[in-house]
């Protein structure tokens, strides 16, 4: 009868094991659990991890994520208030804040995702349609830092002011969405716009505008270059004139002064005896101007030949 006894022991042990394994269960760090009894939730949701107990067979474990979950929106084509068509791709962080409510209202994550799709896409669309594109792109009215060499070349674009800014807009979406998810057992923690892009036709227009702006800047550079070159050429011309004329003036002044001084010197000397000066000068002239071509008609009455007619 030993063998029967052994068999009984083994069966009892097995049964005990099965019961035990249905009584004990682990809750992971990343989980929170709702227990149901014949489909009806019992007790408070279990949110702490570790080894837990339940009534075997009767109660069932429903585990839900405790971590922050992601919601990734599909890129949506949305018109802004200023009638620009853009693609908007957004994401949100959410978590199951009340597993019981979540279980009742949405049953599982897939249900939650599709509900979030509805809510967030709708709210995104609403908010964006109410605002201008610039409010979606910019966050603040921070002035652009402009490299000195392109200063004042591209100012017109910078003039657009932001009334709300991206942060306020996403905050608006978040608040509106939160209001609609309050009774679903989920909490949206954050909503952000991941990508904004122009639809293709608009993008081509923007490219064309960028190209024309660049061309304008390039033209500006070229004309700046030509202008500066002309200015330098003018400066060169002017300086040349200044230098030359000043040199001329100074030289003439020096010469003039020298002439005047010379004249004074001559006058001072010759004034001692103007008559004698005339005499000397005449002699000098006489000597200089006579050459072999000169013909002299000499009168014997003159001083030189006075004695030709005899020593009268």
């Amino acid at each position: 009868m030993r063998s029967i006894k052994t068999i009984v022991i083994v069966i009892v042990a097995l049964l005990a094991l099965i019961v035990l394994s249905n009584t004990l269960f682990t809750v992971k760090e990343t989980e929170q659990v709702v227990l149901t009894q014949f489909g009806k939730p019992v007790g408070r949701p279990i949110t702490t991890p570790g080894l837990k107990m339940k009534v075997p067979f009767v109660q069932k474990v429903h585990a839900f994520e405790k971590r922050f979950l992601e919601w990734d929106g599909d890129p949506n084509q949305i018109p802004t208030k200023d009638k620009r068509f853009i693609w908007v791709d957004s994401y949100a962080r959410w978590r199951i804040s009340d597993p019981l409510l979540f279980f009742q209202r949405l049953h599982d994550e897939r249900g939650a995702q599709s509900r979030l799709d509805d809510i967030l896409d709708g709210e995104t669309r609403n908010t964006i349609a109410k605002h201008e594109l610039i409010d979606l792109v910019r966050s603040t009215n921070r002035p652009f830092v402009v490299a000195e060499d392109v200063a004042e070349l591209s100012q017109p674009e910078a003039a657009e002011r932001v009334e709300f800014g991206r942060e306020k807009l996403t905050e608006e979406v978040l608040q509106n969405a939160r209001r609609r998810t309050g009774d679903l057992g989920i909490e949206i923690l954050d909503f952000r716009i991941k990508q904004i892009n122009y639809v293709d036709e608009v993008r081509q227009e923007v490219y064309a505008r960028m190209i024309s702006e660049r061309k304008r800047i390039a033209e500006r550079y070229r004309s700046e270059g030509a202008g500066e070159a002309a200015r330098i050429a003018g400066e060169r011309e002017r300086e040349l004139r200044v230098i030359e004329s000043e040199a001329y003036r100074a030289a003439q002044e020096i010469r003039g002064k020298a002439d005047a001084e010379a004249a004074d010197i001559y006058a001072a000397a010759y004034n001692r005896d103007p008559e004698f000066y005339r005499f000397l000068k005449s002699l000098g002239t006489l000597e200089e101007s006579f050459d072999e071509e000169t013909m002299l008609l000499l009168s014997t009455e003159g001083d030189l030949l006075r004695y030709l007619n005899g020593a009268r």
């Binding site: 674009e157 390039a218 330098i232 300086e239 030289a251 001692r272 005896d273």
Partner: protein, 329 residues
């Protein structure tokens, strides 16, 4: 089958004691339990020990023991390794000593973004990060890497969206990287990702391909401008210093002339004064002497001399004046 069954029966015959079988099973279980009580953590990792799914402790690298299998388990997180996410491009193979190869996939959706002046820029970047808090990294956020990518894209676009395209392409790079880094870290903390952002590296920042040529044109125009200005400066430098030298020369010449003129005047004056002094001592004689001396020097030079006497009349018709240049009475 028949054969097998009979075989087992024979095996279970009283010759082999049942205790031995039980003992063997126990030994196997014991071995299994024993082997699951120790574990090693690599130098770059940290170990997270869970007891029935609950976090109990974090252990550094090295050899550690734990309670056996069903009770405690270990998760390893590479806390020391620098992790990297790429945006707008993907490195397919990191080249060692050679250049890396990049995926040719079109990732412009990731890198194309609107700037604050509603233009478009293509920004490619990498985010380098580490796991600072393994507990948060594992248990606070599901799909952390994906979340981190989303955060990166968002923050980069926020920062770029507040800058003009010029700023993004030229002066703003450093500042953009710094601001993204800071904001991203803030967001990482807010989301409890346990991630420490080490560095944001802006790779290529470009205008979109369609616009690139016109950006190059601007650069070219800038070069042209410099060239024109330099040419003008060269002309200037070629002419002005020379003119200055010439001006100097003219002044020197004038100075020379002046000195010359004054000295000559002084000389002439001195000569006159001296001669005059001598003359005053004997005016009549000196005067005559000077006159005659001069004449005696002049006369020999003149070839044609005609002497007129009052008593001789009518000589004029004989003179042929054609070749004469000077007549002195």
């Amino acid at each position: 089958m028949e054969f097998n069954r009979s075989n087992i029966r024979r095996f279970r015959s009283p010759t082999v004691p049942r205790r031995l079988i039980g003992g063997l099973v126990l030994a196997v279980v014991a071995l299994f339990v024993l082997f699951s009580t120790w574990f090693t953590i690599d130098p770059e990792e940290a170990g997270i020990v869970l007891r029935f799914g609950r976090f109990v402790r974090q252990v550094p690298s090295g050899l550690h023991i734990k309670l056996p299998y069903p009770i405690e388990s270990v998760q390893k997180v590479p806390v020391e390794r620098q992790l990297k996410e790429e945006f707008g491009f993907r490195t397919e193979e990191v080249g060692v000593g050679t250049s890396s190869t990049y995926s040719s996939e079109d990732l412009t959706a990731e890198s194309l973004m609107l700037t604050g002046d509603l233009n478009v820029a293509v920004v490619e970047w990498t985010a380098q990060f580490r796991v600072r808090d393994p507990y948060k990294y594992l248990f606070k956020v599901r799909n952390v890497r994906n979340t981190f990518r989303d955060m990166n894209e968002t923050v980069m676009r926020e920062v770029i969206g507040d800058r003009s395209v010029n700023e993004v392409l030229t002066v703003g790079r450093q500042e953009i990287a710094a601001e993204v880094e800071q904001r991203l870290q803030q967001l990482c903390d807010q989301y409890e990702t346990g991630i420490k952002v080490e560095q944001i590296v802006l790779q290529d920042v470009n205008p979109p391909d369609a616009v690139k040529p016109s950006f190059n044109e601007v650069n070219q125009a800038q070069q042209e401008r410099e060239k024109m200005i330099n040419q003008a400066r060269a002309d200037y430098n070629q002419i002005i210093p020379r003119a200055k030298g010439q001006a100097e020369q003219a002044l020197e010449q004038a100075q020379g002339f002046a000195t010359d003129r004054v000295n000559r005047a002084r000389g002439d004056a001195e000569l006159f004064v001296q001669v005059h002094a001598a003359y005053q001592r004997a005016p009549e004689v000196t005067r005559r002497r000077m006159y005659l001396e001069t004449m005696s020097r002049v006369y020999p030079k003149v070839k044609k001399k005609i002497v007129l006497d009052d008593s001789v009349k009518g000589v004029l018709p004989l003179l042929s004046l054609e070749n004469q240049t000077k007549v002195t009475p």
